[in-house]
Amino acid sequence: MAGTEAPRVEAVRLSRFEQLPWRRIILVILGIVVIGVVAVGATRTLTLAKADGGYSAGAWRDFVVQGAAQGAIFAMIALGYSLVYGILRMINFAHGEVFMAGAFGSFFFADAYEKSGFLDRDPILALAIITAVAVGISVGTAVLLERLAYRPLRNAPRLVPLITAIGASLFLQNTFRGFFGPQPYGYPKPVVLAGNITVLGVPVQRIQLLVLVVAVICMTVLQWFVSTTTTGRSMRAVAQDREIASLMGINVDRVIVITFAIGGVLAGIAGVLYSLTFEQVQFTMGFRPGIAAFTSAVLGGIGSIGGAALGGFVIGLLQAVGPPLILTGFGIPSVFSLRDAFVFLVLVLVLVFRPGGLLGTGEAEKV
């Protein structure tokens, strides 16, 4: 290396072809294609006669209500991703399993209460206990996860915690499979929650109304907590700069544990609501809602509470309304089975076009 000759520097010459902004061009083409497909699909669906598989106004209304209720659940899970990301800058891939753990654990209580008649005799108290159990299990799982798997990797290269999280997710799923078996269990639903109720002239399933109300309460409380309490302030401080926050006398480890715990609380509540809606629990139930919730968090702008809530509702609506609206027009059979693929497609498109999210700062786009 220590030669006497000066190193020759050759200028890197790019050909005209290579100088073209390829990425920009591909993105524009992709964007035009997406918009075109959406426009054509929607027009064709909306002009479709009912006999040919078109939908009535009532059907669309139901899709919207259903989507909003789903979205509320996604939003609650998304907050867990978003809070943790805000503080540790890591994607807690196992958060879907935190959600599953609470839902699955609470099943055994719900089942016992149903068999003893307690669930229908005193549904409010019974559901409160069931929710408390779910929250307890979810919080426990989240905190253990942080303590055993993530804390040792706090200063590791960025991808290491993500890979660990994937491993932890697989481990948790299969732990529940080992404990309780691979089969799905039917989740009981109290009689009070069955049937419809009319709100402002719109027929809504009772359970959907419950989901929406609980979600709105939870998010309001969380917003209040983070913006006004001392703990909330320290959370925001740690999110901005961990080192400076610790110099200011904030116990960073404690704040991180609290963040995971809050995510666990919301995931536990969401788990009960989800199980009451779909009346089934299984060890794999965390994966797809987890991905949908993560998509919501990114769509809204990861790290922001309002963003996660907004993203959740948008994704919920998109996955309920999108497939019938866009895909039916192209004559694709059984559009509802493509719901999950639709969510993934939205995830890919969001990350490609707007990785900073709707309310985000664009910080996520490095380079």
């Binding site: 990425r23 993105l27 040792p152 890979i163 697989l170 080992g178 404990f179 078996g181 059984s334 993934f344």
Partner: protein, 591 residues
């Protein structure tokens, strides 16, 4: 102060024991004999946590920057305390379970069977059973602690002897077959009555291993030194010892199916398909540092495009069996086409997403992989790929009259492809492209500033990794002969990622070892199948926390990363000073 630490460690081990019992790793394995009919897999699981607690309690500690080694007596006390704490924790759980009644617990925790209770009570009533648990755990702890505190000339041979003997016990379905094929006497080694090793066999295996290990400690260094001098070039990539190890490993891989018969060759064929996928993913993740969680995309692409190109038929009812697009090419003509398609797909998929930061890229690829899974199984694509019922009648890759569907022959076909892919990937890694990937992986912005076109090299990694992955898919299709969407779950991506990580990112021998351990071992012990993914998850977490460079680290990479290693050692030390994650560590060790 130290005493509370020992107790805490022991209690954690006790919790691990409860976990193992609940998850079914004890109750389901009381009949799997490893040595005689006394040492069963279940028994091993039962004492291993206490043993590990003793081992860790007696390990040297770093306090105030000074290394503190315990004297033997001290270590034994520490280990006894830890072992006893583990035993007490577990015994309390067992007493509680006895009090509630196994039948009642079983309505929730499926694995708490009366058989399990009988096993953990050693067939005794509650009180004497609990005492026995505490006594045995304490003993296991003391053995672990003594072993840890023993001087290295004693510790190393004993450790290797125990591990190798247990491995022989695990491989009870493999080694006897090989002995039969070689026309060697097997009854002294493996009991025909209990399946596991006989006691005589166990002692012989143990003593031989200990002897080899002792000789290695005594003369190995000198021998290696001599060999290195004789070899002349002493670079670590070409050291004679490594070459010799490689040659032996290659020889074993070549004769394995002949020795092991068709049942095990079937498993080994799957191992090779996964090894091929691993070599491909290793280029993307290990060399270029792009975390791809949607690798199943290329796997499915390879399998289905091969099926379409070689004239497979649809399985679905009520529609013509000919797919919408169909060719009738020979396997060896179709393969290059499949690979080109996959490379093109890699570029197309990669182009819009490559500017994303690492973790976002991971999730986009996960999304793409999942989308493929859903789409392949959806009614929408029935005329093309058969939807949920899939396709059948896939070519058997015959050359002349020689077909490769037979497990033993398939293994060689797959091995040949793995060898080819490994060679290409090795040459790439040491080329200019490989160095560009390394630079990019370590610091993308700096690499960019040095004039490396990161976009181009990322796309190249995706294209090459993708085409090797599609090769894996094509071979899988040949192996199975039919395709259903169930084979193309997101779990495939995670499995491949797991084996790359376990073996060591960027290391080709690591990929093979990873595939053998993660795909091969669970396939050999049929009872273990259900716990495969539990072990995967535990292994990935354990490797990331305890040994991020993997089992067989990439030499060049570890040299390059020495500074980073030091930083990693620091966080490893932080783990040591806090609590080691015991649950994960022991289950990982058990796989």
């Amino acid at each position: 102060m130290a005493r509370t630490r020992w107790i805490r460690m022991g209690a954690a081990a006790g919790v691990v024991m409860v976990f193992l019992a609940l998850v079914g790793l004890i109750g389901g394995f009381t009949d799997v004999n490893l040595i005689g009919d006394q040492i069963t897999f279940a028994g091993l699981m039962l004492v291993l946590p206490a043993f590990a607690a003793g081992l860790v309690a007696a390990a040297p500690r770093v306090e105030g920057g000074e290394r503190y080694e315990m004297r033997l007596s001290e270590a034994m006390i520490a280990a006894a305390v830890a072992g006893a704490a583990a035993g007490v924790t577990f015994a309390l759980a067992v007493v509680l379970a006895d009090w509630i009644g196994a039948e009642r617990i079983r309505t929730v925790f499926l694995n708490v069977t009366p058989q399990l209770m009988e096993f953990v009570n050693f067939g005794q009533a509650t009180a004497p059973g609990a005492l026995l648990i505490v006594a045995i755990s304490t003993l296991a702890g003391v053995i672990g602690g003594t072993l840890r505190a023993a001087p290295p000339p004693v510790r190393r041979p004993v450790t290797s002897a125990v591990i190798v003997t247990l491995m022989f016990g695990f491989l009870q379905r493999v080694i006897p077959i090989a002995l039969d094929q070689l026309k060697l006497e097997r009854d002294w080694l493996y009991s025909s009555q209990f399946d596991g090793l006989t006691w005589i066999g166990a002692v012989v295996v143990g003593v031989v291993t200990a002897g080899i290990s002792g000789l290695n400690a005594r003369f190995g260094e000198r021998l290696r030194g001599g060999l290195a001098q004789a070899g002349g070039r002493s670079g670590p990539t070409f050291s004679p010892v490594r070459l010799a190890t490689g040659a032996i490993a290659l020889g074993l891989l070549l004769v394995a199916p002949l020795l092991l018969g068709s049942v095990i060759s079937e498993v080994l064929g799957t191992v090779m398909v996964f090894a091929l996928l691993g070599v491909g993913l290793n280029i993307v993740v290990g060399y270029a540092g792009l975390l791809d969680l949607g690798y199943v995309f290329f796997f499915a692409l390879g399998a289905y495009s091969l099926a379409l190109l070689t004239g497979a038929t649809l399985n679905a009812y009520g529609i013509p069996p000919e797919p919408a697009i169909s060719g009738h090419l020979n396997f060896y003509v179709a393969i290059p086409i499949v690979m080109v398609i996959a490379a093109a797909a890699g570029v197309l998929v990669g182009a819009p997403v490559l500017r994303l930061r690492g973790d976002y890229l991971a999730l986009v690829t996960l999304g793409l992989g999942e989308m493929v899974t859903v789409l392949v199984g959806s009614p929408w694509f029935v005329p093309l790929v058969g939807g949920p019922s899939g396709m059948r009648g896939i070519t058997d890759a015959a050359i002349g009259g020689l077909a490769f569907r037979d497990p033993q022959r398939f293994y060689y076909l797959a091995l040949a492809f793995v060898g080819l892919a490994a060679f290409i990937s090795w040459r790439l890694a040491t080329s200019r492209i490989g160095r560009a990937w390394t630079a990019m992986r370590e610091d993308e912005q700096t690499a960019d500033a040095m004039g490396i076109s990161t976009t181009r090299f990322k796309l190249l990694a995706f294209a090459i990794g993708g085409s090797i992955g599609s090769l894996g898919g094509a071979l899988f299709a040949v192996k199975i002969g039919s395709l259903t969407p169930a084979s193309f779950q997101v779990l495939v991506s995670i499995q491949v990622l797991g084996l790359v990580i376990l073996g060591g990112m960027g290391s080709i021998p690591g990929v093979i070892v990873g595939a053998l351990v993660l795909v091969g071992l669970p396939g050999l012990l049929r009872e273990f199948e259900e716990y495969r993914f539990l072990a995967y998850g535990a292994a990935v977490v354990a490797v990331m926390v305890l040994r991020p460079q993997g089992l067989v680290p990439n030499v060049r990479r570890s040299r390059e990363l020495q500074d980073e290693e030091r930083a990693q050692d620091e966080w490893a030390k932080a783990v040591e000073e806090g609590e080691t994650p015991p649950e994960i560590a022991t289950t990982g060790a058990a796989t």
